[in-house]
Amino acid sequence: MATKKADKVMTLTEAASLVRDGDTVALQGMGTQMSPLALVRELIRAGKRDLTIVMIVGGIGLDWLIAAGCVRRVIAIIVNLDEFGMAHAFRRAVEAGEVVMEEYSEHQLLSRLLAGAYGLPFLVTRSGLGTDLIALHPETTRIIACPFTGQEVVACRALVPDVAILHAHRADRYGNVQFFPKPIWLDADVFPRAAKKVIVTVEEIIENEEIRRTPIHTGIPYFKVDAVVEVPYGAHPCSLYPFYAFDRALFQEYATASRTVEGTRAFLDRYIYGPTTHAEYLQRVGGAEMLLRIRKWE
C-alpha cells in the first residue's frame, strides 16, 4: 500500500494494469451516478478475466464487464439499469450459470465491507432476518446470539477487496481526493478503507495547495491511494453531480441493444472496443452536442 507523498498520476492503461486477473474489484457506482466507467472500459479492452466485482448497486459498468467476459462472480444487493430496466448481460450470464451472483441485503454487504475496513473478522446487523438471503452463503453470513441478551443477529464476515476503483471530482497528484458537495454514497466512503489498493479517476488534477484551502471536501487521504488518473467526463454515461447529468440517450441505447447478445456485442464493439482514446469515445457517444446536453440537469 502506498503511504508516501509520491506522485501517483498515471494513464488509464497504467492504472488498469494494477488490476489482475482473478482480483476482487470494488467498483463504485450508484445507479446512474458516479462510476469510474472510463476505467471500466479500459479494463475491458485490457481483457481482464475472472474478476469478482463488488458493487453495492450493480449498474451499467458491471453489465459491460459481464458482457465482455471479464467477470466470474458478482457481490451486490441488486443489479439493474435503474429506471432503464434489467441488466440483460447480467441476467443472461446468471441464468446460464456463467456468473455467480452473491446477493446480500444492503446493510449485510456494508457490514462485510466495514468489517474489512476495520480489520475485524465480522460485524453484526439485524438486516435480512427472516429472508432467504442468509442461508445462501453460510461462509459469510450466519445467525448468532448476542452474548448479553440472547437476541439473534446476523454476523457478516469481513470482505477485503483487492482493488477499489472510483471516480471523483478532483484530486492532487498525491491522491488527496475531493468530492462535491462531499462524499455522499457509502461506496466512496467504505471501498477505499476496505480495499488493499485504491485507484481513483478524477475530472481534474489540482494543486496540493488548493486541497489545503478546502479540506472539508476531501474524502480519501493520499496515504490510502495508489493511482490517480485525470479523465474528464470519466463517469459518462453516469452522472457526476453537480458537474454533469447522466446520458439518458446512451443508457436507453444500451438498455435496448442489450436485449440480445448480438445487440450487446455491437454496442461493445462500437463504444468500448472501437475508440482508442477517451476523446474518441466521447466523440462517438455524441461529441460536443452530448457534452453540452449533460451539463443540464433535467
Binding site: T32, V57, E83, S105, L136, E152
Partner: protein
Amino acid sequence: MAEIARDYTVDELMVVTLARQFRSEDIVLNGTVSFIPVAAIMLARATHAPGLTWVAGAVGVDAYPEPLSGNTLDPTMWRRCVMYLPQEHMWSYVHRGVLETFCLRGAQIDKYGNVNNTVIGEYARPRVRLPGSAGMGDMGSLDKRIFIWTTTHTPRTFVERVDFRSCAGYLDGGDARERLGLKNGPQLVITNLCVMDFEPESKHMRLKSLHPGVTLEEVQAQTGFRLLIPKAIPPTEPPTVEEIRLLREVIDPRGMRKLEFRGAPARA
C-alpha cells in the same frame, strides 16, 4: 368537503391512495425507481401531511425537489434539503426505528406479504434472474411499516408462496414475524386493480377496496391465491380535484409515474 375528481387514471388513483397513508409525523425514505411513492410523498406533504419528513433520494432531509424528472435517487432530489444525511446516520435511524416507513414492490408477492425480487426458480440456476433484493432485504427485517405497490396485478405477481424471500413480510403468517422479533411489517398492498390489507390474526392478505370498474371476480382471477374477502367491499376512495391538479401540474407534469406501467396500459 373537497370536490371529488371525475377524470383520473389508475396511476393517479394509486398515488393518491398511497399518499393518504402518510401522516404528518411520519419520516419516510424513498428507494430506487419509486416514482409512485415519491409522487405520493410529495402529494401528502402538499395536502394533509405538511409536517411529513421526507429523506429524499435517501439523502436529502426535508428536501424540496423540482417536479419529478430523473430517477428517484438522483442528486437533483436533494434540492433545498436541510441536511445531506450521512448514509451511516441513515442506517442507524433505519435500524433504530426512527425512520419507520418504506414503500416497495417486487416481482412476486405472496399471501403473507413476503416479496421476491431475486429469482424465479432455483437461486443457483434461476429460470429468471431478477434485479435483487436491494433495500427490501433490509427494510422487511428492520421493523418498517411497509407499503407495497405494484402495477401488474396478475397471478404471476400474486403467488401462493414466493420462490425466494427477498423481503420479510409476515413470513408463514400468524405470529411468525413477531416470534422472530420483527416489528411492524406490511400494512397495505396497492395495485392497479384494488387495495389490500392483512387480516390482523392470520396476517393473510385481504381485499380492502376495489378500484372503479374492477370486479371482485376479476381481482380473484388475477390473484394466485385465495384472497380473504370481507363482508363489505367499498370502492377505493376517489381523488379530489385538488389532488389531481397538484399531481398533474405541480408534482409530476411529465408523468414519470406512468413509467411504472411500461407494457401495461393504464386503466381506471
